[in-house]
Amino acid sequence: MKAHTLSVLVENKAGVLSRVTGLFSRRGFNIESLAVGVCEEPGMSRITIVCIGDDAQIEQVMKQLNKLIDVIKVSDITENERVERELALIKVSADPGTSRAEVMQLATIFRAQIIDVGAKTVTLSVAGDTEKIDALEKLLRQYGVKELVRTGKIAILRGTKTVKSAK
């Protein structure tokens, strides 16, 4: 069992997301993370799904996804060289006198941006792979994370290769 990253090219039509997610739930597959958005092809969207399963389960997921009429292409890019990003917005307790400076220092180290400041809080925006965001979140916990919003993972292949051209 390991995490697989699937890149799914779909028609940008009403209901396509529920077709995809409904398939996962009714066939008993779990989604770890999900991100959807328009892509380079007009009229299409790309869904990036991270799911955990053994090879047979992932093969079955991909075959079932391929059967959906609105799914154009399914690629498992787990074994490909790729860049991955997640985005997190984190609101941290940071009193001007005490912890604010430390929080801002952490933000610099993690290349996070301060996107908002309140009387007693600072809001950070951080992008990166899962581990980086996990690490920052863990460090910020000691100051008090008031709220955390995180996107699903998106991924793109390295070099000139594209998901469309990859096997």
């Binding site: 779909v10 028609e11 009403a14 209901g15 529920s18 077709r19 409904g22 398939l23 009714r26 047979a56 093969e59 079955q60 075959k63 079932q64 391929n66 059967k67 959906l68 009429i69 609105d70 799914v71 154009i72």
Partner: protein, 558 residues
């Protein structure tokens, strides 16, 4: 100018549809208004579920796409069981439902239900059409998707304002439908076919396991040719019955839970299993890891997702079974004799024929056997679900594809009678029998009214044991005969039939079986036969749930 409803009806006719099954209601009034003077034949059923089953029966008997029509909300919801039945057995139907006007969508309006949401997991695809301009091509896509690849049901949900709006519309010239997300593989991969042939020549004990895919791709002739030229024995699933004549010397009959002993023994001993249009369903395999334990597996299927889903496969071939078998047959250069294997199979067939007690008592198997003798493999046999279905599968000698229509995957009681109506419209010259149980028949008994008013000459043979027989059998065998809610009160089905205007006879002795069946066949219209059969007869042999398929119980009658 054309209204949406007009485009729908004309579009259906352009797809070659002659008969649809439906039930009117509020939001489909514009469509029904269009039907009023249309040459499209509409059969008014008495419950929407029957419309879906009738469309399904029509599709299975004809090989064409069946069509049903219902109103929004309850009408659409009543189609659901029928759509799920078609989905599980890969039957091409197009279901058209009315919907509340687009302005009211999502408002919990009167008779609104999210039918595209509800049917998401039980359709091959579905559409909520929001613009009249889209309807024409949606209809074409729907028929294309339903009737190609692994066939299946497609639903089109049509809001009332989309049906009423008038637009300038010309049907496009019939260019082929192209969908970038749907390109089924038809031709099998040549190298895979070579590998399959190599395995066949290496094998000592090959066995073909053929399923419903052979019927739906009309590959029966190719399958028989493979069996004959290569001398490979064949067993079929419930859905595959009729693909090979029952009395073909190499046909072992049905395998699985209520299959023949010889078929199940052959699976266990075979060293090469050639699965063709079959999906290793649990009712076939029993305990999966003991299924064909010594065999390499070749799996031919149109649906790549079926390959490797349940059973590990050595040579997968994705493609239409007819096309793959044609390619395979064309490549046969060498042959091999499987004499010892064939002799072993003959031995099993002689030692373990399907038997029941022939003691002059009116037993359900006798009814099926006599009907089989009278019809000589002609006619179309539809069944309900349960014991009636298994006895028909076991004792009716099917000789041709599309002459056996049954709900296999979903196991829908109440399927048979409306499906038989659909089969009649597909093949009006054939005798159509629904072999029923008293439980199943009562699940769509209201269709007696439909067959009466339209003089649909469907014959219903009720194997009436006043039990939900299959459940009772399991209670007898596995629950200490605690017959919890499986006994049904006696019903005078002849009186019920007469009340609807249908003829019928009650049969209480074995001697009266043949004359009664003849009377039904000789009657021009519909007919109900109420066979009061032995009440606690069991379907044997039987593989208990979760056992290996050679661990069969029963079926040895001295």
């Amino acid at each position: 100018m054309k209204t949406g409803a007009g485009i729908l009806i004309e579009g259906l006719q352009r797809e070659g549809v002659e008969t649809i099954f439906g039930y009117p209601g509020g939001v489909v009034l514009p469509i029904y208004d269009e039907l009023y003077e249309s040459s499209l034949r509409h059969i008014l059923v008495r419950h929407e579920q029957a419309a879906a089953h009738a469309a399904d029966g029509y599709a299975r008997a004809s090989g064409r796409v069946g069509v049903c029509l219902a109103t929004s909300g309850p009408g659409a919801c009543n189609l659901v069981t029928g759509i799920a039945t078609a989905y599980m057995d890969s039957v091409p139907i197009v279901a058209i439902t009315g919907q509340v006007p687009t302005s009211l969508l999502g408002n919990d309006a009167f008779q609104e239900s999210d039918i595209t949401g509800i049917t998401l997991p039980i359709t091959k695809h579905n559409y909520l059409v929001k613009r009249t301009e889209d309807l024409g091509h949606v209809l074409r896509e729907a028929f294309y998707i339903a009737g190609t690849g692994r066939k299946g049901p497609v639903l089109i949900d049509l809001p009332k304002d989309v049906s009423t709006k008038s637009i300038d519309y010309e049907f496009p010239e019939s260019e082929p439908v192209t969908l970038r997300g749907y390109q089924p593989t038809v031709r099998g991969h040549a190298r895979q076919i070579d590998k399959a042939l190599e395995l066949i020549l290496e094998a000592e004990r090959p066995l073909i396991y053929a399923g419903g895919g052979v019927i739906s791709s009309d590959a029966s002739a190719e399958l028989i040719s493979l069996v004959d030229t290569m001398g490979i024995p064949v067993t079929t699933t419930l859905m595959g019955l009729g693909a090979v004549p029952c009395d073909h010397p190499l046909n072992l009959g049905m395998l699985g839970m209520h299959g023949t002993r010889s078929a199940n023994y052959a699976v266990i001993e075979s060293d090469l299993l050639i699965a063709i249009g079959a999906r290793f369903d649990d009712r076939v395999t029993g305990k999966l890891d003991t299924f064909a334990p010594h065999a390499k597996v070749i799996h031919i299927d149109i649906d790549p997702a079926e390959i490797g889903k349940n059973k590990k496969v050595d040579v997968p071939i994705v493609g239409d079974t007819k096309s793959v078998l044609q390619d395979l047959l064309a490549k046969v250069r060498k042959k091999k004799e499987y004499d010892r294997w064939q002799a072993r199979i003959r031995g099993w067939k002689e030692k373990h024929p399907l038997t029941y007690r022939r003691d002059g008592v009116l037993r359900p198997q006798l009814v099926v056997e006599k009907l089989s003798e009278l019809l000589k493999g002609e006619g179309i046999i539809v069944s309900e679900v349960g014991q009636n279905q298994m006895w028909t599968a076991q004792y009716f000698c099917f000789r041709k594809p599309r002459t056996w229509i049954t709900s296999g995957g979903l196991g829908t009681m109440g399927y048979g009678f409306p499906a038989a109506m659909g089969a009649h419209f597909a093949c009006p010259d054939k005798v159509v029998f629904d072999i029923a149980g008293d439980g199943s028949f009562q699940m769509n008994i209201q269709e007696l009214s439909t067959v009466a008013c339209n003089n649909i000459p469907v014959k219903v043979a009720i194997l009436n044991n006043r039990f939900l027989g299959m459940v009772r059998q399991w209670q007898e065998l596995f629950h200490d005969r605690r017959y919890s809610f499986t006994e049904l009160p006696p019903v005078d089905f002849v009186k019920v039939a007469n009340a609807y205007g249908v003829e019928g006879i009650r049969v209480e002795s074995a001697d009266d079986v043949v004359p009664a069946l003849k009377a039904a066949i000789d009657t021009d219209g519909p007919f109900v036969l109420d066979f009061r059969v032995e009440r606690e007869e069991n379907v044997f042999p039987m593989v208990p749930a979760g056992a290996a398929i050679n661990e069969m119980i029963g079926g040895n009658v001295e």
